[in-house]
Amino acid sequence: MKNAMHKTLEPVDFKAKQAEFAAYIRDPDKNPPPADVKEQRVQMYRELFFNNIEGFLSGNFPVLKKILGESQWLTLAEDFFAKHQCQTPHFSEIPEEFLDYLQNECNSSEDYPFMLELAHY
């Protein structure tokens, strides 16, 4: 009871809450879900967000997706979403963000030197 009282008196740092929430959505393997909400609900957020991003990428890079195969493709899309800080507000420019990621942040591009070139198709 004492703990519960203490909890309600402590003001919520909404900026920290937002950071925690977004971090979980980007990379649920490395970041815990917010403790004060149902896990099923934040998992749904993660699923919706990732499917949205993956949809943009697979629509724009069909050849790369086909060559990598489903599993490697998903790993790549997950890594992009976890690492890359997209700056563009325009959905049509997400492909440029992905190319930027492949060039500068993607560790596995050394394993697949053809990837960046292929991504243009």
Binding site: K17, E20, V42, M44, N52, Q85, P89, E93
Partner: protein, 283 residues
């Protein structure tokens, strides 16, 4: 409510790229306004750009944004706001609406996250809305979003929503489906919520279908037909506040145009019914 304050009357439809040529051909009379996400269209040229220009020449449009990230702790993107302003000017679009939400934290995540309902967040987001309105040189309309979790909640959703729009002095876009979805997901009474909104600020409304994950968990997909309780809630809103412009959102599982127009026509017939009721009442 004073209906002359609305930009236009009647029923609207969210414009999807797949349907643009059908609209240009069919010129459906039942749709009195369309809505687009500027983030989908600002950068579009070529064939679709031309088709879009032909649409905005012929029909009324609203910009319904997705990337402004009003609640974010990332800085406001002034360049982007000016792009939207320019886009609206080029296409003679008079109204810009956005979500009471955030979609970025150290970069964009391209979907809507729930702002913690705290008093500190109220001031933060209200300041940002005011800043956007200054840059746009006009009021924007802010939408009640669907949310599946309320991290860091200190106050109720309605208290948060009302405090923000009051402090920002902005208009509102009331989403009827979102009220319903949230009322199920967070166990509150949808009509009580509806009765508490500052109706004098309503610019227009959204209505849409959703997906049922479980009895107590609905997801706002815009991918299905509108269900009866949501239609009834729209009727309740017209009863309480008079008729306001209402737009059908359908983003996934697009049915044939004729089916979309059937739902648009339901909106129109409800508007006409409640218009008559109100005229009788105040005659």
């Amino acid at each position: 409510m004073d209906t002359t304050s609305f930009l236009f009357e009647g029923a609207g439809l969210g414009l999807r790229r797949q349907l643009i040529h059908q609209f240009l051909e069919a010129q459906p009379q039942e749709v009195s306004f369309f809505e687009v996400a500027p983030e989908n269209w600002i950068t579009i040229g070529g064939k679709y750009g031309k088709a879009f220009r032909a649409m905005t020449d012929r029909f009324n449009f609203i910009c319904h944004g997705l990337s402004l990230s009003l609640g974010s702790t990332d800085p406001l993107d002034k360049t982007f706001i000016l792009e939207v302003k320019q886009f609206m000017k080029e296409h003679n679009i008079k109204l810009y609406s956005e979500h009471l939400s955030y979609c970025s934290k150290n970069g964009h995540l391209y979907d809507l996250m729930p702002i913690p309902f705290t008093s500190e967040a109220v001031s933060h987001v209200a300041e940002r809305i005011k800043r956007v309105q200054e840059i746009m040189e006009q009021k924007i309309a802010v939408e009640n979003v669907s949310y599946y979790a309320a991290p860091g909640q200190e106050m109720s959703e309605i208290d948060f929503f009302n405090a923000v729009v009051e402090e920002a002095d902005c208009n509102i876009l009331i989403d009827i489906n979102n009220i319903y979805v949230n009322s199920v997901n967070h166990q509150y009474d949808a009509e009580t919520f509806l009765k508490a909104i500052p109706a004098q600020r309503i610019a227009y409304a959204h209505i849409a279908g959703h997906y049922k994950v479980a009895e107590d968990f609905l997801v706002d997909t815009h991918g299905a037909d509108i269900i009866d309780p949501v239609w009834r809630l729209l009727g309740k809103a017209y009863e309480l506040y008079g008729v306001f412009p209402t737009l059908l959102e359908r983003d996934f599982n697009l049915p044939p145009l004729a089916d979309l127009l059937t739902e648009v026509n339901i909106i129109r017939s409800m508007q006409s019914t409640w218009q008559t009721q109100h005229e009788k009442r105040y005659a």
